[in-house]
């Protein structure tokens, strides 16, 4: 019969050890169930430990006077009969209390994380409430680049919304510039420029554009003769206008015909969100960098209203006086590509999370074939870049065609 070792149990509600007083058996001697094995003294009492099995004492694991930890081997016995199932049922003598284990029982253990836990990057000095941090994550705003306007320099919801409005998408044009560039020459004579503020926000937004949006671009040239005539008419009526209001108006009508262009891709749910309102972002080159003020509900405005509001937004952007609501919530963006210089057109980048950006080139005279004759006509390039997840080439072409038609036949 296999030998079995009896371990010192917790004899009294959380005891951790006992001192052996004396053995009442000798090694090699027979022992009956419940016959006294030894006396031990705990912190509470002197108690007699009865044998759990009948058999022959094989070895004693402690000497009188010795301290035995609860759970340590006390005696080894060769049982005369296998105690049916006991070992399987209890697995040891420390059942409850100190040192207890529950063999055969379920365990609650620390688990390794499913993915390696990323070490959080400490943002020393950044003070912002959880919601503000969440908002910053959603809008791609770097909190460390923001000066908080709240108490104790705390970054507020408004601060994040303002910062989120600063970056803009379009135009390959904008020259690298930083709002407060710090130039640090190195050994080779290269200069490293610390990127902060709007430059950093633009960089982040553009990375997001090209890394998350599969986009393609289509180009067209439109005949601006009618548009220029309309401008001249307005000017004579005392309402001088830039071409921009006509672009915005044509865009609003094209979106009405093709609402899918005024949308965004919800990455969390893989759904297309078709926008209920048309808020046109207007890319404006400013001394701080590219800003995109938003002309709200552009589809509800007539040309005069568009002209008036766009003028206010562009001036405000350049002067840095716009409110947060003027800088947020765009659903589609227009940008001016080649208003000056020899540039004809360019490839604008979609402004996330929007679906479409429209670039207008400068209006100037170009040779165009009209009714079989090559004529010098006022004309301009137009380019659209769209999110291919939402829009295919066919729809983009339809949209661009509508846009051109509207521009060639202004009200």
């Amino acid at each position: 019969m296999a030998e079995r070792t009896f371990h010192l149990p917790d004899l009294g509600e959380g005891l951790t050890e006992a001192q052996l007083v004396r053995w009442r058996v000798d090694a090699g001697a027979p022992v009956e169930v419940n016959a006294p094995l030894c006396e031990v003294e705990t912190a509470k009492a002197v108690v007699v430990i009865p044998s759990p099995w009948a058999g022959t004492i094989r070895s004693l694991h402690a000497r009188p006077g010795e301290s035995i930890p609860v759970g340590a081997p006390l005696v080894t016995i060769a049982p005369t009969a296998e105690p049916a199932g006991e070992a399987e049922a209890t697995g040891g003598s420390v059942l409850v209390g100190y040192g207890a284990h529950t063999p055969g029982g379920a365990q609650r253990r620390r688990r390794a994380p499913a993915a390696p836990a990323s070490t959080p990057t400490p943002q020393a000095g950044v003070r912002a409430a959880p919601f503000v941090r969440q908002l910053a994550r959603e809008r791609g705003v770097d909190l460390s680049a923001i000066q908080g306007s709240g108490p104790d320099g705390r970054i507020t919801r408004s601060d994040v919304e303002a910062a989120a409005a600063l970056p803009s998408a379009p135009a390959a044009a904008a020259a690298p510039q930083a709002s407060a560039p710090e130039r640090r020459p190195d050994q080779d004579g290269d200069h490293r420029i610390t990127v902060v503020g709007i430059r950093k926000a633009i960089a982040r937004q553009m990375v997001r554009s090209v890394s998350t949006i599969p986009q393609f671009t289509e180009f067209a040239i439109f005949d601006a003769t009618a548009l220029m005539e309309a401008r001249a008419l307005a000017r004579r009526g005392g309402r001088p206008r830039t071409p921009l209001p006509y672009f915005v108006r044509a865009l609003a009508l094209a979106v009405r015909a093709h609402p899918l262009l005024n949308s965004s891709w919800d990455e969390a749910r893989d759904e297309i969100v078709v926008k209920g309102a048309l808020h046109v972002g207007i890319a404006v080159n400013t001394p701080q960098g590219l800003l995109v003020p938003v002309l709200r509900h552009a589809d509800r405005l007539d040309l005069d209203a568009i002209a008036e509001q766009a003028g206010r937004l562009i001036d405000g952007a350049r002067a840095g006086t716009l409110s947060v609501s003027d800088m947020t919530g765009g659903t589609i963006t227009v940008t001016n590509v080649g208003a000056s210089g020899p540039i004809e057109t360019g490839t604008p980048l979609v402004n996330p999370p929007e679906c479409c950006v429209v670039g207008f080139g400068g209006i100037r005279q170009r040779p165009m074939v009209v009714k079989g004759q090559v004529l010098a006509r006022e004309s301009a390039w137009i380019s659209i870049s769209v999110d291919h997840r939402i829009v295919d080439g066919g729809l983009a072409t339809e949209f661009l065609t509508t846009l051109v038609t509207q521009l060639e036949h202004p009200e």
Binding site: L11, P50, L95
Partner: protein
């Protein structure tokens, strides 16, 4: 030697022998449970050595339809009510707070906090009376419990509402280390007068005296005459529990006179003298008790560890809130299955 055996309360010879058998069986179970604790199979054990006559006699005096409201030292009573002792030891093994269905045995769960079960018994008995039922309630507690406020409040309620309840005090002279004289300066039994019902003091080591007193009280309750208090004078021969050491407070000389009044030896002597049993029967009963103790050990050591989710969360609310069920789900999901 005082014996009340002249009055055998109309018990048959078989019933008289059965009282003896039960005392021997529960004592043997008590001893085995202490061994099991010393062998690491139980977290704690509270002996009732010396109190077998009160435990067996009280249950024998009841009808099966009556209810018992115990404290925690009434393991022997629970065995007399038919609850399996090995399963019951699951309580002391740390497997469950309630190893039996109280309705099946008409035996409520153990009450650890002293005297708190006494108002339960009174409320239960008030309910019996409201229903017009013939059921009576036996409420059991120790001498220490009579110092508690709940004990007083419950006795008072029982008197006011004439509740059909029998208050049985197992006065075993000790509340852990505090002797009776430091527990109360007066008589326990006589307090009943103040509550408006009878109180008696009996020899709790005389099983027939216990049967007689409890039966008298039960009859009275069943008649609608209200509660009774029985102070059953006995002695706790062992320690308070397996975690206790009575040599620290109890004079050794105190044990000898109580050993002389041992309830089993006394009753065996009376049964012999009455020629109700012979030696062969006594030996057979001792073997029966040994076998029962081994069966108890086997049952205990084979008790399965119940599934944690159901064990811990299954009996907290009858109508568990959704948030509670969610916590249970999260708990169960956090478990590693046993190897």
């Amino acid at each position: 030697m005082p014996q009340t055996g002249t009055a055998n309360h109309g018990l048959t010879r078989e019933q008289l022998v059965d009282l003896y058998r039960k005392m021997v069986v529960i004592r043997r179970a008590d001893q085995e449970a202490l061994n099991l604790q010393r062998q690491g199979e139980l977290g704690l054990w509270g002996q009732f050595l010396g109190q077998e006559a009160t435990q067996v006699g009280a249950i024998a005096a009841l009808q099966d339809s009556d209810w018992v409201v115990p404290s925690y030292r009434e393991f022997g009573m629970a065995m007399c009510r038919g609850i399996d002792p090995g399963t019951m030891l699951g309580y002391f093994r740390g497997l469950t707070h309630g190893p039996w269905d109280p309705r099946r045995y008409r035996f409520l769960p153990f009450a650890i906090s002293v005297a708190t079960q006494v108002p339960h018994a009174v409320g239960f008995a008030m309910g019996c009376r409201l229903e017009g039922s013939q059921d009576v309630v036996l409420c059991v507690f120790g001498d220490g419990a009579t110092s508690e406020g709940d004990w007083h409040e419950a006795m008072n309620f029982a008197g006011v509402f004439r509740a059909p309840v029998i208050f049985l005090c197992q006065n075993n002279q000790w509340a852990i280390s505090v002797p009776l004289r430091q527990q109360t300066a007066g008589s326990i039994a006589e307090r009943a007068q103040g509550y408006g019902f009878p109180g008696v003091r009996i020899d709790g080591n005389d099983v027939l005296a216990v049967v007689g007193a409890v039966r008298t009280a039960a009859d009275r309750a069943r008649r609608g005459d209200g509660p009774s208090l029985i102070e059953s004078v006995t002695y706790r021969m062992g320690a308070h529990t397996s975690a206790d050491d009575p040599t620290r407070y109890r004079p050794p000389a105190e044990l000898a006179p109580w050993e002389a009044r041992d309830p089993i030896a006394r009753y065996a002597g009376w049964l012999r003298a009455q020629r109700i049993v012979d030696e062969a029967q006594l030996a057979a009963i001792a073997m029966e008790a040994d076998a029962a103790a081994q069966a108890m050990r086997a049952t205990l050591t084979h008790l399965p560890i119940p599934p944690p989710g159901a064990s811990l969360f299954g009996r907290v609310y009858h109508d568990p809130p959704a948030s509670f069920l969610k916590e249970r789900e999260e708990f169960e999901a956090s478990l590693e299955p046993p190897p």
